[in-house]
């Protein structure tokens, strides 16, 4: 039984690895061959370059610049999104103003404001952070609002019946009920923050992974380009995992079932 179970899992892993490994092997075998374009780089060369850039610190500065911009924008957008979302959930006037506004502007790509924001705030970090936080605000706000508004009314009644005041109900009933969906919004926002970060860095920047990718492509240093792409992909992936860990920690004692779902 154990052995069979093990064989099953191994088969599953092998199947999952088939396509990525096939791609890597194909790149390794064809790289540098006659007639192959120069941008096909052997994965071993990419790994060597990545290691070299990491150890001599060339990549670290760019990665830190990108990360600090993206996290600042994310935190700013998330704080505003959650705060205004919760405010709208408990105060009707705020909802009447923000809900239609956000729902209307939701499908509008905020990235269109990039050139405009650059003319306002210049090419520095501020314009990038503002644009990222704007992009993060929308999904966070909407999910916070709808999460808080879908608090089961029975719970609110029960709390009120037991003499809880409004603040207590907000803090101990509405907020916990909204938390799972708040995290759904934060997760969409986090993914968007990396997309916007990359766009702002590619368009006008002298630092950051997006800029490094463009520079490497123009200089035809394709191994650098792949190393930078790998880094930004990895950072996006790890940030998402970190958010899921925080979510699990926060939800664990409230929603045993909810927390396990990713």
């Amino acid at each position: 039984m154990m052995a069979r179970q093990f064989g099953f899992t191994a088969l599953r892993w092998a199947a999952g690895l088939t396509l990525p490994v096939a791609l890597l092997v194909a790149m390794q075998l064809t790289a540098g061959q006659e007639g192959m374009p120069r941008y096909v780089v052997a994965p071993t060369d990419i790994a060597a370059t990545l290691w070299q850039l990491l150890t001599n610190g060339d990549l670290v500065g760019d990665a830190l610049g990108s990360i600090s911009r993206s996290y600042s924008g994310f935190v700013l957008g998330a704080v505003f999104g959650v705060a205004i979302g919760l405010l709208s959930a408990v105060w009707r006037q705020a909802q009447a103003f923000f809900d239609p506004l956000v729902s209307t502007l939701y499908p509008v790509p905020k990235i269109a404001l990039l050139p405009v924001i650059i003319t306002w705030l210049g090419f520095g970090d501020v314009s990038k952070i503002v644009l990222i936080s704007l992009a993060v605000f929308f999904p966070t706000f909407i999910n916070t609002l709808y999460g808080a508004r879908s608090t089961p009314v029975n719970l609110v009644w029960a709390a009120r019946n037991m003499g809880a005041n409004r603040f207590y109900i907000f803090w101990h009933v509405v907020l916990p009920a909204a938390l799972p969906q708040i995290f759904t919004g934060l997760r969409s926002g986090l993914a968007l923050s990396f997309v916007v970060l990359f766009a702002t860095e590619m368009v006008g920047s002298h630092n950051g992974l997006g800029d490094m990718i463009i520079r490497a492509e123009e200089a035809m240093r394709y191994d650098w380009m792949y190393a930078a792409i790998l880094t930004i992909g990895l950072l996006g992936f790890l940030s998402d995992r970190a958010l899921l860990v925080i979510r699990r920690k926060l939800l664990a004692n409230k929603y045993p079932g909810e927390a396990r779902r990713t």
């Binding site: 509008v108 269109a112 050139p115 650059i118 909407i142 992974l209 394709y222 930004i232």
Partner: protein, 266 residues
């Protein structure tokens, strides 16, 4: 009848009033002289630029280019995403092969691959469409996969019991049951397609709304670049509304997705 018209008008006013407030603040800032009117032109100038560029056909041309690219990429992603999602949900070895790619690839910013796409497909429309398709395939495939997997087995069993073949089961049982989930995947993907098209057009391109906006602001024609922003906003908004209309048509048995627009989730 009168009642219905009145309530419709009231709903429209409720939606429009926040926008009107923002417009009023803009106008105030622009006219007060606190902000340089070059950076914040009065609305009148923005709209005259908008109408002038619509009239001379320039804005319509760029809108057409962006819209075609976004829709082509999105359309590709719908086909590929739904097929992959269904196969992952129904075929075990296919699930083993592709499910890890989707769950690991989901949070990775695929836009970083744009330079690779340029190298492979050139600077034209095809690299943009391919990137849009890649980015949009993820939410569509994942939502289709979860939607189909969540179909109660007893529905399938009873269909089989009544003699339905695989094709009939797919079209009459699986697809309708998974449609709400598929539709919410489409709803996540559609705005993404506009985001990607605008970004890629800002980087080295000579057509499309992204190019139009960055060109206008690089040549200090700020009123025109705001006109471009308005055009993008309208296209994004109308595409989303159209999708909601289609959704409500197809899913007449489900409550409308229009109002709670955006209970978006992964």
């Amino acid at each position: 009848m009168r009642q219905r018209i009145l309530s419709a008008v009231r709903r429209m006013l409720a939606t429009l009033y926040p926008l009107a407030v923002l417009a009023a603040i803009w106008e105030l800032l622009s006219r007060s002289g606190w902000v340089s009117p070059r950076l914040m032109p009065p609305l009148e100038k923005i709209f005259s630029a908008l109408f002038a560029d619509i009239a001379n056909g320039e804005l319509l041309f760029h809108t057409g280019v962006s819209f075609t690219r976004a829709l082509s990429g999105f359309g590709l992603a719908v086909v590929v995403g739904i097929i992959l999602g269904v196969l992952m949900a129904r075929v075990r070895w296919f699930e083993w092969m592709f499910e890890p790619i989707f769950s690991f690839g989901y949070p990775v910013p695929k836009i970083a691959l744009y330079p690779v796409f340029i190298l492979l497909l050139g600077f034209g429309s095809s690299s943009k469409i391919a990137l849009i398709a890649l980015e949009c395939t993820f939410p569509i495939a994942v939502n289709t996969y979860f939607g189909i997997r969540a179909v109660a087995p007893r529905f399938i069993w009873s269909a089989q019991n009544m003699g339905a073949g695989p094709a009939r089961i797919f079209f009459k049982v699986l697809l309708p049951a998974a449609l709400p989930s598929i539709m919410s995947g489409l709803r996540v993907a559609l705005p993404l397609s506009m985001v990607i098209v605008v970004i890629t057009e800002m980087i080295g391109e000579s057509a499309g709304l992204g190019y139009y906006i960055s060109y206008a602001s690089a040549s200090f024609m700020y009123a025109s670049s705001y006109a471009g922003v308005i055009a993008i906003a309208l296209v994004g908004f109308l595409m989303d509304r159209t999708l909601v209309l289609i959704r409500d048509r197809l899913l007449f048995w489900e409550p409308s997705g229009g109002a709670q627009a955006s209970k978006l989730s992964y």
